[in-house]
Amino acid sequence: MADAASGARETRRTIDAVWRIEAPALIAGLTRMVRDVGLAEDLAQDALLAALETWPRSGVPDNPGAWLTTTAQRRAIDRFRREARLAERHAQVARELERELAAAEADPTAAAATTAQTGDDLLGLIFMCCHPVLSIEARVALTLRLLGGLTSDEIARAFLTPRATVQQRIARAKRTLSAANVPFEVPAGEHLAERLPAVLGVIYLVFNEGYSATAGEDWVRPELCEDAQRLGRVLAALMPREPEVHGLLALMELQASRLRARRGPDGTPVLLNDQDRSRWDLLLIGRGLKALDRAEALSDGGLGPYALQAAIAACHARARTPEQTDWERIVALYDALAALTRSPVVELNRAVAVAMAFGPAAGLELVDALAEARELAGYHLLPSVRADLLERLGRREEAYVELTRAAGLTANERERALLLERAAGVAGGGTAPPPRAR
């Protein structure tokens, strides 16, 4: 009996792993066929339930993905037939499904030939999950659930959101897609250029949430970075001709290469120039530089915003010591990035690079202009950067004021502690002023 129980447990674990691997392609293929992502996920879940019932008795089939697809297709045919009165278009789909199923059964080797179809299906699903008709939160939740294979629980934990909220968000997103009649397709031509940034934005948002957690006690949540990197690699394999896809992948691999150096032994953040560069991950740096090469080779005009950011990250990755950093090249890259994005955050970063290349006074001039424009009011990094430059110019009292202001603006506990510590440092004399109450 004990053997049977442990065998069942093992099968359950295998089914979880199969699900993680197969779910995205399964749901993508079903969405293409039934043209409704909510229904597609229901059907896939039905197939998963059937596997949970059947496999512990029959053993895991040789090709579990094909088994799940076939089962889900049979469920779809059953369901559509039951609902035939309401669904002329469903009956049509059922006939198409039947043809596809019959073809697959007549020629099992044809399954291998459908890899290209699977790729198109996955792309269609990615573009659907990141459709502009959805809110950003909904795009993120749906992408992680349907393409990353994460459960609602895992998504809720990653984003410190109640599970019920995530579930509602996903349910509402599926209804929205259905109601808006969003087509299941990969946009082509100029539509692709319009829609691709939304897809890249969702993946990068997931990465950033892991890389620099915006709320809570943790400074980084590396699992989210891993999920985003995987999605980025999947997308790069599916869209090998798109320079910005490789640019985003390069950016994520290069930033992730510094993950283990960004946290001190006690969990406090370590800033770029203070990092022990021997702890940077050479495997990821190599992958990042290769992806950047690809992005550069594919760009006929200038680099896009992700490739430019990756090129900046590459300048740091190539420098074995902080002193070897090519700050003038970084300034030039930020010039290009600022012209593309017109973002004040980019301008702030550019000011930092200018200070490194041409001295703190030159940087402070740019930062002061930004502070005057008030676009970044409430952004903690503005006073933090300003404090750094003031300190380097010997204006310690002003630096102290700016650091305490920055500490009052961040929502991240560890970052606040770091800022207050720096404030205590510039206050000098070794006597720490009392931390500012929130």
Binding site: T14, A17, V18, R20, I21, R260, P265, R279, L284
Partner: protein, 142 residues
């Protein structure tokens, strides 16, 4: 989390037999699948142990032993570095690998240590030292 996935050597791989065309094609497809899923980070095949060497340590002394080595089944003929969500996912991927050798063969899956894996008893100082030593080895191996 990351895994090192090792293809164990066989008599034929130790004899330097190259995989046939069908095997190369099947392995190519599998590698493609791994890359498409964002799982594969790196992977290489290794030459037979006759082209390798070992360095034995005993206290302060070092003795170099040239290959080949006898215990064929314990040798490694190739490896991948994968990023997976769990050991179960890695196992599931390995099951989908074509048999890498003619006849019997084995693939071993080992999880790579991350800094987080060392529990409370691993002090911050020790952890830092360990990291530094490991990355130094990596940078020297480059």
């Amino acid at each position: 989390m990351r895994f090192m996935v090792m293809v164990k050597a066989t008599q034929s791989s130790e004899n330097g037999a190259m995989p046939d065309e069908a095997m190369l094609a099947a392995m190519g497809r599998f590698n493609e699948e791994l890359a498409q899923a964002g799982v594969m980070l790196a992977g290489e095949g290794l030459q037979p142990s006759s082209k390798g060497a070992r360095v034995r340590f005993d206290g302060a002394s070092r003795t170099v032993v040239d290959g080949p080595f006898a215990e064929t089944k314990e040798l490694v003929a190739g490896y991948w570095i994968w990023q997976c969500a769990s050991l179960d996912e890695a196992i599931e991927w390995v099951k989908r690998c074509p048999n890498p050798m003619p006849g019997e063969s084995e693939i071993e899956i080992r999880q790579i240590f991350e800094a987080e894996d060392f529990g409370e008893e691993f002090t911050p100082e020790l952890r830092e030292q360990e990291e530094r030593i490991r990355t130094q080895i990596e940078s020297e191996a480059r």
